[in-house]
Symmetry: C2
């Protein structure tokens, strides 16, 4: 039996293009005498469709698209993901299903059992859980068809308070008595640089446990903030990786089932340099956002600092240097080297930029406010005015020319609220909002691995917002080496202050950092969508009540 | 048996004050010879705690608080809501529980069975569903103890595509064989002006169906955007409303069980004028946000239009006129009457205001941009610059004096994107973001019911953003009477364009409105939290992918 894995980039709700892409892959498989071609979870509509699943027209379009694709399946079978209306009078309205299409019709349909509702997942909001387990028989083989989380009945968790067994049922244990010959898993599993190993381990452990090959097809491409890496794989019955599909791009490969069973596998390593992975994830995330939103050009404010420098490089890689514009917006607090470094970078990348001084407008605001503020010393107010004037310039270019403003804030500053709401926190998409400052530096080193694209001075100088004379980030914040570790323990691992202090950090520093994270929820509430690369990004995957008392 | 209902306003995570409030109510009940005092769902920690439930320290504090309260229960029983750790090796980490405290200890604990995951609810994210059903025996009575949604196994839905039976189990059907003498329901059910009748109907229908009284205790108070109205009630075995507790404030009442069973009930009507309800909800929502965030003073931009006028009145009612400030920020496009109307309103309310012209700064920006924009006609860019300059002034006062900026956008403009991101969309909290424009007018009439607080001219003049000469909202939008109906059908009822057109609206108008709603998701993504008064507000209860293709 020949099995093809089709790792495609879907666009949520773009039924026309999704169906076309699936149809073409089926036809390609037919031409190659493939018996079964497998697509990823909810491939018909793209994952995650969220509340579009509550719209009857959306579900009707899924049904219609499925019928259309069934008609293409002559002399071949295809597994395609789609929501299904739950016909029972009680329970959630839908199932999350895998359709087995063959001979022009739906031969079988299997519903998802384990519905993730942690982090960015909300599947139980829409779907009823499957309770019936059966094998699909096809060309003499018994297929255990599972959907993503169905194989994750036991999983490692970052937060020690969480459980490895979130579910009271194991779909594979239910299917095991039927002695399947292979497991197929169709997935939409988002990228996280900390979980690559864990994903591989789950697939490998299931192959080993049930002593059958696993064919795992993941979605590729970004859907707003969620980046799906692809990285589909075939693991043989010994738990060796027979083949690994591309990360961050579409792929289509064909396997002979006998070869997978018999060949001595090369046991591919599924790992790569994490900064390469993060770089590739962010570039694809940005490119896909523009493609799917039909945006062409981007703009950002270039300060001479490391965050805007790395953001500009990512943007050029994603969109091309002719589609990216930069504004340099110095005030009297901007140092000479900031402007020079920004210009050098823009020249290195051959990106068009303009320099506009904000100083006269800063003074104009201060003049207008002097009568009201005269009894008060300068403070954060005057600093924020500068950041907000820059935002007005950037948004003016955005409005006039249709350039989308890219947000360049990093995760460390988003965490502690070291940024100006409606100022440098503006933008249509945040590139680095899930990348800690210390990782931004490592990303810069990765970018500069072959030649100096980002000026050395940008990397070497102490970070500064340059909103008052001689300002440094360390005036307000601990060293990033310390800060980022505390943030990681608190945000990703959800450790308490006591547990973090017990790891050897200064008690006051830990308490102060956690206080800043907690009291800045209100700023992050209004932040742009953030490309997610970690296991816990700010945004929909982390839901903290604003009014909570800590 | 004497039963007391304690309808209290909790603060999420404020264990000290929550425990104090519960303890005082228990002591008050003891003094009045009460046998059982009932508190609302998750009363220990406040509802909804969201991802704080994933923090071990948070759960430990719940446990500690519960032990402390058990110690107070001497000669009385209390029902208190709290999360419980699920001791089973598999399944979600927690239960959402009702603790029955008596004689200084936990006598019993009942877990919630039906876990809502629609709209603003995410309970299955945290909680495992109960599967064991038992009655609590106390002082010769058999109590069916249920938690909020447990009584909502059948419920009316706005969206016809949804089901009346979302769950495959009915807790009351499981408890019925034990022949309970009464039902207690502890709840945290948020306010919606369209669902008041439905809530009453559910309680009444359960009392009638099982022919026993229902004691329903709801949380009161706001938690960020969610407003809990209280409105607890006692319904007798015939389904008559024996008593109804206050809306939008704390309450404590004592009932003799025999009286509830025997007395001829007055059958209170649970309904009130909806604009009174909306007014009271918004005032409490704003006040609670400030109290729980420890904010004192507010500021807003007063344009002379209806939205900022109604917002100012609500703010004065919530915070007092000494705690609210207004800025009038005219440009050359501001009409004379706008400034006059705004001043009249501020004077009527005795609110301090300042007038600052933005004109010279507008010109300063335009001068700086002229060289880049000279080949392009004025457009939305120049309009947005004005709105964003106003935001800088308002935020400067906010930063300097600690006044929290109130957002004054209404639901109609939020829906169609008729507002400037980082301009008039700024603010710490949106008061009217869930109130359609036509309802803002009705709210103004309600506010003016006894005397003219909001100037008649503000109510009568055609709505205008005043960002270009003679601009009117109807230049860009359908009449609000039409627009708001289409929006209601699309957002609250989730009807398709075909279904809305079939109700008699112009096809092009419907398509255009839906297109505007869909393509402005990105703006709403960055909007402030919106006080929720409808069954479908923008925010966490409505999750639409930004990149979706429509």
């Amino acid at each position: 039996m020949k099995i093809a894995l089709a790792q495609l980039n879907y666009h949520i709700g773009d039924f026309k293009n999704n169906v076309t892409a699936i149809r073409e892959a089926i036809l390609k498989a037919i031409r190659a005498d493939v018996d079964l071609v497998v697509f990823s979870e909810l491939s018909i509509c793209g994952y995650p469709p969220l509340d579009l699943l509550e719209q009857k027209v959306f579900i009707n379009q899924c049904k219609k698209s499925l019928d259309e694709l069934a008609g293409v399946c002559n002399g071949i079978a295809a597994i395609v993901g789609s929501p299904t209306i739950n016909p029972n009078p009680s329970g959630k309205n839908l199932y999350n299903s895998a359709y087995f299409l063959s001979n022009g019709k739906v031969l079988d349909v299997i519903h998802k059992t384990l519905l993730p509702t942690y982090d960015i997942f909300d599947e139980y909001r829409y779907f009823e859980s499957n309770t019936e387990f059966r094998i699909i028989h096809y060309k003499g083989k018994k297929i255990a068809l599972t959907i993503c989380e169905d194989l994750w009945d036991e999983q490692p968790f970052d937060n020690e308070f969480e459980k490895t067994r979130l579910y009271t049922i194991s779909p594979m244990e239910m299917l095991k008595p039927h002695q399947p010959d292979l497991i197929i898993n169709i997935a939409a599993s988002p990228f996280s640089y900390t979980r690559e190993w864990a994903k591989k381990e789950i697939i490998v452990s299931k192959a080993r446990k049930y002593a059958v090959p696993v064919f795992y097809v993941n979605q590729v491409g970004a859907q707003t903030e969620l980046i799906f890496e692809g990285g589909s794989m075939v693991v043989n019955q010994k738990g060796e990786i027979h083949d690994l599909l591309h990360h961050f791009k579409e792929d289509f490969r064909i396997y002979d089932f006998g070869d997978v069973m018999e060949e001595i596998s090369s046991n591919h390593s599924a790992s790569a340099d994490i900064y390469k992975r993060i770089n590739d994830a962010l570039v694809m995330g940005l490119r896909d956002y523009f493609l799917k939103m039909k945006f062409q050009t981007a703009i950002l404010g270039l300060s001479g600092g490391i965050d805007s420098a790395v953001s500009l490089v990512l943007a050029v890689h994603a969109l091309g240097n002719k589609n990216v514009y930069a504004l340099l917006l110095p005030s009297k607090f901007s140092t000479e080297h900031s402007v020079t470094d920004a210009k050098t970078l823009a020249d290195n990348l051959n990106v068009q930029y303009e320099i506009i001084s904000i100083q006269s407008i800063v003074e104009n605001f201060n003049d207008s406010l002097r009568v009201y503020f005269r009894d008060y010393p300068p403070d954060i107010t005057e600093e924020n005015i500068q950041a907000r004037i820059r935002a007005i310039f950037l948004m003016a270019f955005s409005n006039k020319f249709g350039h989308i403003l890219l947000n360049t804030s990093n995760k460390s500053e988003a965490a502690v609220g070291y940024g100006t709401l409606y100022g440098d926190m503006c933008g249509g998409l945040s590139l680095l909002g899930d990348v800690y400052k210390t990782d931004v530096y490592k990303l810069a080193e990765y970018i500069n691995r072959d030649k100096e694209i980002i000026p050395r001075n940008t990397i070497k100088k102490p970070p500064s917002a340059e909103l008052r004379p001689n300002q440094k980030d360390t005036d307000s914040l601990p060293d990033y080496e310390i800060l980022d570790k505390i943030l990681y323990y608190f945000i990703e691992l959800q450790l308490s202050s006591e547990e973090i202090i017990a790891k050897g950090f200064d008690g006051n520093t830990v308490e102060r950092v956690i206080f800043m994270v907690n009291t800045n929820e209100y700023k992050r509430y209004q932040a742009p969508p953030i490309l997610r690369i970690s296991s816990k990004a700010f945004g929909a995957g982390r839901r903290i009540p604003l009014v909570a008392k800590y």
